[in-house]
């Protein structure tokens, strides 16, 4: 294990700061055929809801310059199967699991959180209050600071493991929401989820996605994520898992400089399924050339150096 890359966050003792982002890695089965999942820092598994969900009609994806829109709709096999089939499969790997949970009512989140947190390999929860693709729940919990805080508190009461709250960028003031969930007991933040977007087909003159709107991800949203992490990390004292268009080792470093303490790689897994192990190798080399002993040194350096000078 490289000392340069190892980091320790609430619930997540990671060999390196790279994890696949929830929703972009299923439950790991497909990628386990391509490389050893134990090489990852952690795994963000697909959102789990109480009941199984088929999700939205197709088309579910559309492309935009530097990005993609998706409206999958939280398709997943439901709490029972995730706990009895998917999580046990991942137990054969030496990697902490960040389990993403979603729901339409507070009780759903609480019930799923309580049961998923009991799985031996789930070392942290990621509260999904920012999915733009489901009509109820999801994003409606993530746009109001009081609602977000109340849900965080309710989940914290039942969860045996630390809770990260995944924030939506589709808000006027992300700092207020971040501070509200921190106050409510969140152990960390994940940011950002996708930005709401739409594409219209010129032939049919209708939106391409069957769901009409969808979540924009990929390199196109990276500057938005960097800006939001830069702002939030200066105003909260809990760690941030940064995500939003990460594709290269330099992107990882940029997120750390902005204030992230770990990163998640999403859309890039669809372009190159080997991206995570490739990034881990590249990051190690990059830090050597930068003469950085541990990646932790970079956290928030873009703003902490300003204070040092003033």
């Amino acid at each position: 294990m490289s000392k340069k890359l190892s980091i320790k966050l609430p619930g997540l003792e990671m060999k390196n700061p790279i994890m696949p982002a929830s929703g972009c890695f299923g439950f790991g089965r497909e990628f386990s055929k391509l490389y050893d999942l134990s090489s990852l820092g952690a795994i963000g598994i697909k959102a789990t809801t109480e009941e199984s969900r088929f999700g939205n009609p197709t088309p579910r994806v559309a492309e935009t310059p530097g990005g993609m829109l998706n409206a999958i709709g939280l398709q997943n096999p439901g709490l029972e199967k995730v706990v009895s089939e998917e999580l046990p499969f991942l137990e054969s790997y030496d990697v902490p699991i960040l389990a993403n949970i979603a729901g339409t009512k507070t009780e759903d989140y609480v019930n799923v959180a309580e049961k998923v947190a009991k799985a031996p390999n789930v070392t942290a929860l990621e509260l999904n209050i920012s999915c733009p693709n489901v009509k109820e729940g999801g994003i409606s919990f993530g746009t109001d600071p009081e609602v977000a805080a109340a849900l965080t508190k309710a989940v914290k009461e039942v969860s045996e493991v630390p809770v990260y709250v995944k924030l939506s960028p589709n808000v006027a003031d992300i700092v207020t929401i971040a501070q509200a969930v921190e106050q409510a007991g969140a152990d960390g933040l994940s940011m950002i989820n996708t930005l709401l977007g739409m594409r219209i087909d010129l032939k049919t003159q209708q939106p391409i996605l069957a769901n009409r709107a969808g979540g924009l991800s990929g390199p196109a949203i990276k500057p938005v994520a960097v800006r939001m992490i830069y702002e939030v990390s200066q105003r909260v004292s809990i760690p941030i898992i940064g995500m939003g268009g990460i594709t290269t080792a330099d992107d990882v470093i940029e997120f750390f400089l902005a204030g992230a303490s770990a990163v998640a790689v999403g859309t890039a897994n669809f372009v190159n399924p080997f991206i995570c192990p490739e990034l881990i190798d590249e990051l190690e080399e990059r830090l050597s050339t930068m003469k950085v002993d541990n990646i932790n040194e970079l956290v928030g350096r873009s703003w902490s150096s300003c204070y040092n000078q003033s």
Partner: protein
């Protein structure tokens, strides 16, 4: 399955907007199953960002060469059509489950293709002929200038071309021809637009048939859930198949058309 930067050896237009690209690489040695597909990056820039799934049309294992046919229709396939001999082509694959060949011996197979769904049937037909299966092709196109691979299929077995405007071969849809002429067959394989597959299932009621499906894909390996289809006879509405990793080939009666 692997990812490899292969080298383009040829890329030519063979019918209106239809291109034939051939590339060389070690990855080709894994392409033994007809009906599988490859996931291509058409640019090393970010537009388009995602790969393009294209079916395998022909494979020369000894020369490590693979041929694909595609329609240059959208941004990705137009970029692909700009590739020249010697250019790099980023290929991921082979992906998905192809046409099963084990169950068939010395019988007659009816291969029914429509438009850009025709290409994977070529490699399938070659493999069937190798096994001593008698092949009969019915290939549908919009018109004569959209037609391709008539000669290549004819060398493997009887080949009927149908065109909607009647400018070549039989005028009408592939199903019109099959209903009218009733060619005998033991097993049916098909790839083409969903309305065509639906017509085959509804009008021909084949007992043994395999269909290859097309759906807009993200990752191509089963992780993103972009290409899911409903399953026939599922009252809960929550059962699904992923076209990329459970398919793209399914026995008839599985996918809700």
């Amino acid at each position: 399955m692997r990812r490899e930067d292969t080298v383009v050896t040829e890329n030519i237009e063979i019918a209106r907007n239809i291109y034939q690209v051939t590339f060389k690489g070690e990855i080709v040695s894994e392409m033994t199953e007809p009906g599988q597909f490859l996931h291509l990056r058409t640019s090393d820039q970010y537009m388009p960002l995602l790969r393009r799934p294209i079916s395998i049309c022909d494979v020369d294992i000894d020369r490590q060469e693979c041929t694909m046919l595609y329609r240059a229709d959208g941004e990705g396939t137009k970029q692909l059509s700009d590739k020249r001999q010697g250019d790099q082509l980023d290929v991921l694959g082979p992906l998905g489950n192809g046409f099963p060949l084990d169950t068939i011996k010395g019988e007659t197979a009816l291969l029914v293709g429509g438009g850009i769904g025709v290409p994977p049937l070529y490699y399938l037909s070659k493999k069937l002929v190798e096994k001593g299966v008698n092949v009969f092709h019915v290939l549908g196109f919009a018109s004569a200038e959209d037609t391709f691979y008539k000669q290549q299929f004819s060398e493997l077995g009887e080949t009927i071309i149908t065109t909607i405007d009647g400018s070549l071969g039989y005028q009408g849809f592939v199903t019109n021809y099959i209903l009218e002429e009733q060619p005998p067959y033991d097993i049916l394989y098909s790839c083409g637009p969903t309305p065509m597959l639906n017509a085959i299932e509804q009008q021909l009621h084949p007992e043994r048939a395999y269909f290859s499906f097309e759906e807009r894909m993200g990752c191509g390996i089963g992780a993103c859930f972009a290409c899911v289809c409903h399953v026939q006879g599922d009252e809960t509405g929550t059962s699904y198949k992923k076209v990329c990793s459970d398919g793209p080939v399914f026995p008839t009666g599985v996918i809700q058309l």
